[in-house]
Amino acid sequence: MKRINVLQPKALLKVFAVLVPLLLNGYGIAAASTEQLPSVSRNDVAAVPAVEAAHGAQAAPEEEKAGDVIMHHILNNREFAFPPFGRVELPEIKVGGFDISITKHVVMLWVVSAILLVIFSIVGGKYKKMTPSQAPRGLVNAMEALVEFIRTDVAKANIGKGYEKYLTYLLTVFFFILLCNLMGLVPYGATATGNINVTLTLATFTFFLTQMAALKAHGIKGYLAHLTGGTHPALWIIMIPIEFIGLFTKPVALTIRLFANMTAGHIVILSLIFISFILKSYIVAVVMSVPFSIFIYLLELFVAFLQAFIFTMLSALFIGLASAHEGHDEHEAGVASH
C-alpha cells in the first residue's frame, strides 16, 4: 500500500527489472497470491475480477489459479454472478436425455434478442409511418446507415443479382453477432459469440444457405458436377473427397474466426488485469494492467464491429460464390484470399 507513491523513473525501472523475471517464472507466486486477493481488492478497476477470484478462492482455496478464474469468465456455466451483490443460479433442464439447461450464454442470447427486438420494433414502426419523401432521424437514421451498408456494400456487392432473398439472414446475423459481441464488453455480461457452439450454429445456417444457393443456381446435376472440380473422371477419386471437405472448411473457418477473436480479446484483457494481482503490485496495475486493458478494451470494441462485419461479409461472399455461374476458379481464389 505504501508503494503507491513511488512513481519516480528510477523506481519504475527497478520495478520493471523485477517484473521481467517474475513474468518468466512466477507461477508459484501466482498460486500463492490468489489466497490473499481480497486484501488488494480496493483497486476499483480490478474489483470485479478480484471478487470473482475471491469466490473461486472460497470454493477451492488450495488450487485456485488465475487461469481458472479467466476460464470461469469465458466459459459457459449455469450461474450469473453479479459481484459484489451475489449470483443467480440458472435452472437445469433435461429433455429426453438431452441437457438443454438455460446457461449463461443462453441468457445472453435472449438478452441480445430482446434488445434487438425492442430496437427494431421501434425502428420498423417508424418506417411503417414514414413516407418515401421523409428523411429518417435519430435512432432510425443510425440503424438505416447499418442496414443500408449491409444491403449495398455486403449483400449487393458480393451476391449480385437476387441478393434480396438473403438480406433477411444477413441483416439478422450481422446485428445478432454485433450485439452479442458488444454485450460481452458490458459489465456482468458474457460473450455468447465467444462460445464455439454458438458460432458453429450460426455458421451452420450460412452453410445451409450456401448449399441451397448453389443447388438453386446450378441444379442437382450442376451441383454434383461442381464436386468433381471439372476434371477428368480418372481424377474424381481424389477430387470428390477434396471438394467435399472444401464444402465444410468455409463454415468451420467462420466458426473458429468469430469464436477465437471474441475469446482471445477477453483472455487478453483478463490476463492483463490479473498480472497486477499475481504480482500484488499497485504499480503494475497503474502502469500496465489498467492502461493496457483499456487499450485492448477499445480494440475489442472495434473487433466487435469488425467480426460481425466479417461474418456477414463472408456469408454473403460464400453465397455469392455458390450461386455464381462459372464460379469454380473464383471460388478457389475467394477461399484462398481469406
Binding site: V106, S113, L117, S121, K128, T168
Partner: protein, 175 residues
C-alpha cells in the same frame, strides 16, 4: 506460462454443448422471423421506395432539363427567324418607299411639264385670239378712218382695198 497453457490444456473451450446449440438455433430463427416481420420488411421496402423516388426525381430533373433546353433552342431559332423577318420587312418597306417616291416625283414632274405645255398653248391661243381681235379692231378703225376720209374725198371701196393691202403687209412684216 500464466494462463495460456492452462486454457489450452483445459480443452473446455472446444467442448460441445448440445443444449446451447439447440437454444442458439431456436433463438436465432425466432429472432430472424420476428425481425423479418417487424423490421426488415418495412425498412427494406422504405429504402427501395426511397431509392426509386430519388431515381425518378433524377430522371424527371433530366427530362425537365432536356425539355427546357429544347424550348430554349426553339426560342432562339424563333428569335433569329423573327429578326430576319423584321430585317426583310424593313428592307422591303424601304425599297417600296424609294420606288414610290421616285414614281411620285416622276409623275409630278411630268404633270408639271404637261401643265406648263398646256399653259403655253393657251397663252399662244389667247395671244392669237387677241391679235385677231386687235387686227379686226384695227381694220375697223382704219376702215372707219378711211371712210371718213373717203366720204370726204375718195371712193370708199378703193381706199378700203388699199388699206387692207397695207395692213396685210403690216401683219406679214410683223410676223
Amino acid at each position: 506460462m500464466l494462463t495460456s497453457g492452462v486454457i489450452l490444456l483445459a480443452g473446455s473451450l472446444l467442448s460441445p454443448e448440445p443444449g446451447l446449440i439447440f437454444w442458439t438455433a431456436i433463438t436465432f430463427v425466432l429472432v430472424l422471423l420476428i425481425l423479418k416481420k417487424i423490421a426488415w420488411g418495412p425498412i427494406l421496402t422504405a429504402l427501395q421506395d426511397r431509392e426509386k423516388g430519388i431515381q425518378s426525381s433524377i430522371d424527371r430533373a433530366h427530362q425537365a432539363k432536356d425539355e427546357s433546353e429544347a424550348i430554349l433552342r426553339k426560342n432562339r431559332e424563333l428569335l433569329s427567324k423573327a429578326d430576319a423577318d423584321a430585317d426583310r420587312i424593313i428592307r422591303e418597306g424601304k425599297d417600296y418607299a424609294d420606288k414610290l417616291r421616285a414614281d411620285i416625283t416622276e409623275k409630278a414632274q411630268s404633270e408639271a411639264k404637261k401643265m406648263i405645255a398646256m399653259a403655253k398653248d393657251e397663252i399662244e391661243q389667247e395671244k392669237r385670239r387677241a391679235l385677231d381681235v386687235l387686227r379686226n379692231e384695227v381694220a375697223d378703225l382704219a376702215v372707219k378712218g378711211a371712210e371718213k376720209i373717203i366720204k370726204t374725198a375718195l371712193d370708199a371701196d378703193m381706199q378700203k382695198q388699199i388699206v387692207n393691202s397695207m395692213i396685210q403687209d403690216l401683219s406679214t412684216k410683223r410676223n
